[in-house]
């Protein structure tokens, strides 16, 4: 019985070192700040909407909003920058959402760097592939 237990311990898949602690703390911090940024920008955009109301070109009533069709408001980075410079509520809110969408990408990038520092090359390769696929998806190269 005692022999069995030591054998099980030798075959354990739990890593004994403390690098896990450091990785967890950093990943957690990046996620927290990303989420706080997204919420602050989104909240500011929503406040702008309440103060300024729907802008020309936006749906003016709830009925109009709910009958929107897919692909009506295609957007791009330059369009967003123009909108934000004139404090257009929709574009400020878009920026908040974009920051939120970027948080998972950021944490995969962080993990990639941490695995490189740890010289854990199997996981460097894994996170590099995940990062590349994510990047393709975010620029809109993958998908319907």
């Amino acid at each position: 019985m005692a022999h069995d237990e030591t054998a099980a311990q030798a075959a354990s898949s739990v890593r004994p070192d403390s690098t896990r602690e450091r990785i967890d703390l950093l990943v957690s911090r990046v996620l927290r700040w990303g989420v706080l940024c997204a919420a602050a920008i989104g909240g500011a955009g929503f406040l702008l909407f309440v103060l300024r109301g729907p802008q020309p070109g936006d749906p003016q009533s709830l009925q109009e909003l709910l009958s929107l069709r897919s692909e009506t408001f295609a957007t791009s980075l330059p369009a967003m920058v123009r909108g934000i410079s004139t404090a257009r509520p929709d574009d400020v809110m878009r920026l908040g959402i974009l920051v939120l969408i970027l948080t998972p990408l950021l944490r995969v990038a962080l993990m990639l760097v941490l695995f490189v520092l740890e010289r854990d090359f199997v996981f460097v390769a894994i996170s590099a592939i995940v990062f590349a696929i994510l990047l393709l998806g975010l620029t809109g190269s993958i998908g319907r």
């Binding site: 896990r20 989420v35 809110m93």
Partner: protein
């Protein structure tokens, strides 16, 4: 105009519950947000999915900050399995024009229903015992430990049957690309049933992973305008608030209780998938 603001307020509260529930059981909250937007408000399904993708990422990043800090999330297993979900999603995106999505809904539903039995049988189990790590788990150091506040001790656990979990995650990725879902339910099953990880670790790790799955398809929806700011912003804010509360709750719940919560939700999702497959909704 006041109508839009009231709509946003209602959406905020619905999303709060979606975030609360989603962060507890490792799902994205799409199961609540999409039906409310389409069935109650009559919004176009594509715009509802756009909002649901935002809800998935918000649940994931919102709760993960707490789960990762408390070591409930298995970060190494997550990135390995994200390799499976993201390659599955790429294949899904490529195959989308050739595959009938109806059959997929049936497949998804059938799979969830089949898993109910094994799930229910383990209702009484708190932490899986007698788990022998397989070659992959040992080689990649996938096992972990977390301080369990409900049990008042550190739980050390092993991981096994990595290829089974990997294959299930590949299918989850395929399904999420084809059907526009987070497929969190499949992810939880892959870890809980497939790889024998503790229930709370499975939901926390699934919660961590769904953000990446959703972000991969978010770009398409975002740039083509299917993420409507005035719809998605209240969803984001509500879900974030809900997931912060949910994360504090999960740390204090037992694995048993989480499983009790998960089973009825699994049933609801299965029924939703069946209805979509039949074409009722």
């Amino acid at each position: 105009m006041a109508g839009i603001e009231l709509f946003a307020l209602i959406l905020f509260f619905v999303s709060f519950f979606a975030g609360l529930l989603g962060s507890l059981i490792g799902l994205g909250g799409g199961i609540l947000v999409v039906p409310v937007l389409t069935l109650v408000f009559g919004l176009d399904i594509h715009l509802a999915i756009g909002a649901s993708i935002v809800s998935i990422i918000a649940t994931s990043s919102g709760a993960a900050a707490a789960y990762v800090r408390d070591h409930l999330t298995n970060v190494r297993a997550a990135i390995l399995l994200e390799l499976a979900t993201s390659t599955g999603a790429v294949l899904g995106a490529l195959l989308a024009p050739f595959l009938p999505s109806r059959a997929l809904y049936f497949l998804f539903a059938g799979f969830l229903l089949l898993s109910l039995g094994p799930m229910a049988r383990r209702l009484g189990e708190e932490v899986p015992s007698q788990v022998r790590p397989d070659w992959f788990a040992r080689r990649l150091h996938l096992g972990g430990a977390y301080p369990d506040r409900a049990l008042g001790r550190v739980v050390t656990y092993e991981v096994t049957r990595v290829p089974v979990g990997f294959a299930m995650m590949f299918i989850a990725g395929l399904a999420s690309a084809l059907l526009g879902l987070g497929a969190g339910s499949l992810k939880v099953l892959a870890m809980d049933w497939g790889m024998r990880m503790p229930m709370k670790v499975s939901t926390a790790t699934s919660n961590f992973m769904i953000g990446v799955t959703a972000a991969a398809s978010a770009g398409v929806y975002f740039w083509r305008g299917d993420v409507v700011p005035i719809v998605a912003t209240p969803v984001m804010l509500g879900v974030l608030a809900g997931s912060l509360v949910g994360a504090q709750l999960l740390l204090r719940l037992t694995n048993r209780r989480v499983r009790q919560l998960f089973i009825p939700i699994l049933l609801i999702i299965a029924v939703q998938m069946l209805l979509r497959g039949i074409g009722v909704w």
